[in-house]
Amino acid sequence: MTIRLNPMKIVVVGHVDHGKSTLIGRLLHDTGSLPDGKLEELTAMAERRGMPLEWSFVLDAFQAERDQAITIDTTQINFESDARPYVIIDAPGHREFLKNMVSGAASADAAVLVVDVAEGVREQSRRHAFLLRLLGLSQVVVAVNKMDLVGHDEARFRAVEAEVRAYLAEIGLSPDAVVPVAARAGENLASRAETMPWWDGPTLVAALDALAPLAPPLERPLRLPIQDVYKFDERRILVGRVEAGSFRVGDELVFSPSNRRARVRTIESWNAPVAKLEARAGEVVGFTLDEQIFAERGDVASHEASAPKLTNVFRATLFWLAERPLVVGDTLKLKVGPDEANVTVEAIENAIDTQTLGRAPTDAVGHNEVAEVVLRTREMLSLDDHRANPAGGRFVLVDGFDTVAGGVVSTEGYPDQREAMRVKGTNLYEVDHLLTAQGRAFRNGHRGGVIWMTGLSGAGKSTLAMRVEQRLFAKGYQAFVLDGDNVRKGLNADLGFSPDDRAENIRRVGEVAALFAEAGVIVITAFISPYRSDRDRARSAAGEAFHEVHVAADLATCEGRDPKGLYKRARAGEIGEFTGISAPYEPPEAPELVVDTSKQAIEACVDAIVAHVDARLAVRARAVGA
């Protein structure tokens, strides 16, 4: 026997009693991987106990031999096919299966999902498959087991095959093979079964042999999270593991979230025969830069053109391992690669039922449940959508001292904040105005200001804006409405409706509104402006002059009104990323004013806003209704 290297790591999962242990035991036997004498020993033991030999005894024996009375945790069982060695990295049937399964399965190359042909897909078959998918496993071979129980009938196999494939397809998995087997008799495991002449597909082992070991994602954009910065000598060496892509000496790298840039001067190593000029996915590297920019553990280096997304709020699908439930408002520690940040659970959008794949609103996520949540951090994070770049799009949550959840990031629905963060035109100098704000205010009788209305589509922002403008004008204020119609046609004609474009739209409106306010005008804006971060930016552009007005009609009311028929189209799926339906709306945390058009009459809302302006922006009293 030769010991080959690089064993392929597999996990065996499936519903209880569908035959996982039997399959492993028999596989070890049929591939000649059992120690000498083991089978005789087990047969003798079964005879002594007056029971038939169960192949699962092999595992029990391993367990007993290895562990005496101790509950096994992660164990390793080796077997070898003609093509390559394998290691089964988690044995089935543990008490705390989920916690252990994620520890094992997350590093597996492939999974075997065992399904009893007589029972079909059951609760744990689905749950395990769902978690495998969440963990990022994409290679799955399905063993439809106990074919002897259905007379080796092809039709029965095809029915279960269709059922498994349908479920897997729904969660985005396509099995590499679905093989009819009878584990107990060793049929179609390592050798072809004569009992199933209709089967012309591979045996289970052949199906596994056909899989490729996981290769580092060389073709994806560079992701190099910084693990540490060493200054042992005159060199300042940044170290990290290349999670995706590659880079060369001389490349310009951008570090996120700081957006700082520098070129790679050298790739450092110790005791290497020649200096390295390139580093590729999977390698751990040390490198120096041509400029001493500030960089620290947790930063992500990438190439400029394909940098990760920057955001401080994102959607995630997570599995919750703690006993206590997760609730909105919980603050936990987030770890993404070497980066850490405190996150607050802003919303729990849905619990996912792994059986039906149904999504239902919920307030809390229970032990071992899966849910879709919205998480928010204070600082900016660099993230990837897990589908685009797994390593940059998965995280764990730590509560106190314990890892309590794992999850994957979806960057849908929230804009990239990189552009907005960048200080543009760094060599522009502001020219001091000779006129002061007080001078303008004295002339106009009021200060300039931004009345920033935010709320769902149909909440009444435009109606209110026009009425307020009219009333203010009548009272002698310089007032002007900025809305979608006058902005989209000119200033923002180049922007569409993607999250990024929407963010840019709002950024420009914020800047323009701030200029109007500086010019002494009271500008009223009427944009949904669903993201807090965008509004915060508009606030920082206008400073003290900013007045956020939450036009707070609830979704049902807005949808009932639906003046432009947009909700209907969004519900029908004709409009994607529609705020309130398929994209989030983040209500203001501390608005200067709240008006609720579902509870108050429009006139009352207008009165409230005008009163606010009178109180906050007027420098001399003005006749009511003048």
Binding site: M1, T2, I3, L5, N6, P35, D36, E65, R66, D67, Q68, I70, T71, I72, D73, T74, T75, Q76, K99, N100, V102, S103, A105, A106, S107, L135, Q227, D228, Y230, F232, R235, I237, V239, R241, E268, S269, W270, N271, A272, P273, G282, E283, V284, G286, R297, L321, K333, K335, P338, R394, V396, V398, G400, F401, D402, T403, G406
Partner: protein, 284 residues
């Protein structure tokens, strides 16, 4: 002695075929990643150095990870019973590699739990020695070069494995560990054992040792039909029958042997659960 202190500069790719070189490079990358995580997240940090082949390979990779320096102390749990070649090797390597070695003299055997079998008692001395070092120097983490394939109970280990102050290992309730996110937050009174070699096998270590030209204690090589496969105290470790006098011959031998690596250690055979008892009370 046979140790070469200034090995030829080597390259994994030159020493083996592509598949083997890629495999070793992957194992090495993983170990270096773990070493750097430990150094970034756990302080004060130390590394146990038994002077055997595994901890030498680990030490070598630490030098790679930190560009020639080993930025933490090495702790040798010394029972005074190592073979003379081991001490000679140590005294040559320490100054040559600029190591910060702290020798921890283990308490005498009479102080040990007398219900343990004799050889296990010897190992227990190291457990107590480690506990003393931890208590005195307040280490929050110690790196240990154990491997999953060495011994059954080690198969269950995590890479970052928290221990109570007395060293106790709660194997029933281990933290989940996935996506290379390790447990690095602990309450006071808990330290962490870090296992950067968990994923290596005995044969991997030898192939790597050869590829990199890492010096080892010459006792591993056969003389007069015997060699040591594992180095322990002289009263409890015995050579195995072997003609393997070079690393290549050792690798060839390992590819056919069915004898377990720790076969030359009496302790493991004394009672069924002695190793388990040792480990749960803090042994490596």
């Amino acid at each position: 002695m046979a140790a070469t202190l200034a090995p030829e500069r080597t390259n994994l790719a030159d020493a083996f075929d592509d598949d083997t070189a890629a495999h070793l490079a992957e194992l090495e990358a993983r170990t270096i990643y773990i070493l750097r995580e430990a150094y970034a997240r756990v302080s004060p940090l130390g590394m146990l150095w038994s002077i055997g082949k595994d901890s030498n390979a680990l030490l070598w990779m630490a030098r790679k990870a930190f560009f020639g320096r080993v930025p933490f102390p090495l702790i040798q749990l010394d029972t005074g019973m190592e073979l003379p070649e081991v001490y000679a090797f140590r005294d040559e390597i320490v100054p040559a590699w600029g190591l910060d070695l702290r020798v921890e003299h283990c308490p005498p055997e009479e102080d040990m739990d007398q219900t343990l079998p004799p050889a296990t008692r010897a190992a227990a001395r190291k457990t107590v020695g480690l506990r003393n070092a931890l208590a005195r120097d307040k280490y929050r983490g110690v790196m240990v070069g154990i491997r999953r394939d060495e011994q059954a109970t080690r198969a269950k280990e995590r890479v970052f494995s928290p221990r109570a102050l007395d060293g106790a290992w709660d194997f029933r309730n281990q933290p989940p560990e996935f996506w290379d996110q390790y447990k690095t937050d602990f309450p006071d009174g808990v330290h962490v054992r870090i296992h950067p070699l968990l994923h290596w096998s005995e044969i991997d270590i030898w192939r790597y040792t050869k590829a990199e030209g890492i010096p080892v204690v010459p006792l591993y090589f056969a003389r007069d039909g015997e060699r040591y496969r594992s180095l322990g105290e002289k009263n409890i470790t015995f050579p195995v029958a072997s003609d393997a006098a070079t690393i290549d011959e050792i690798i060839a031998e390992l590819m056919v042997t069915k004898v377990s690596e720790r076969a030359g250690r009496t302790m493991d055979k004394e009672t069924e659960d002695s190793f388990e008892r040792l480990r749960s009370s803090g042994y490596m």
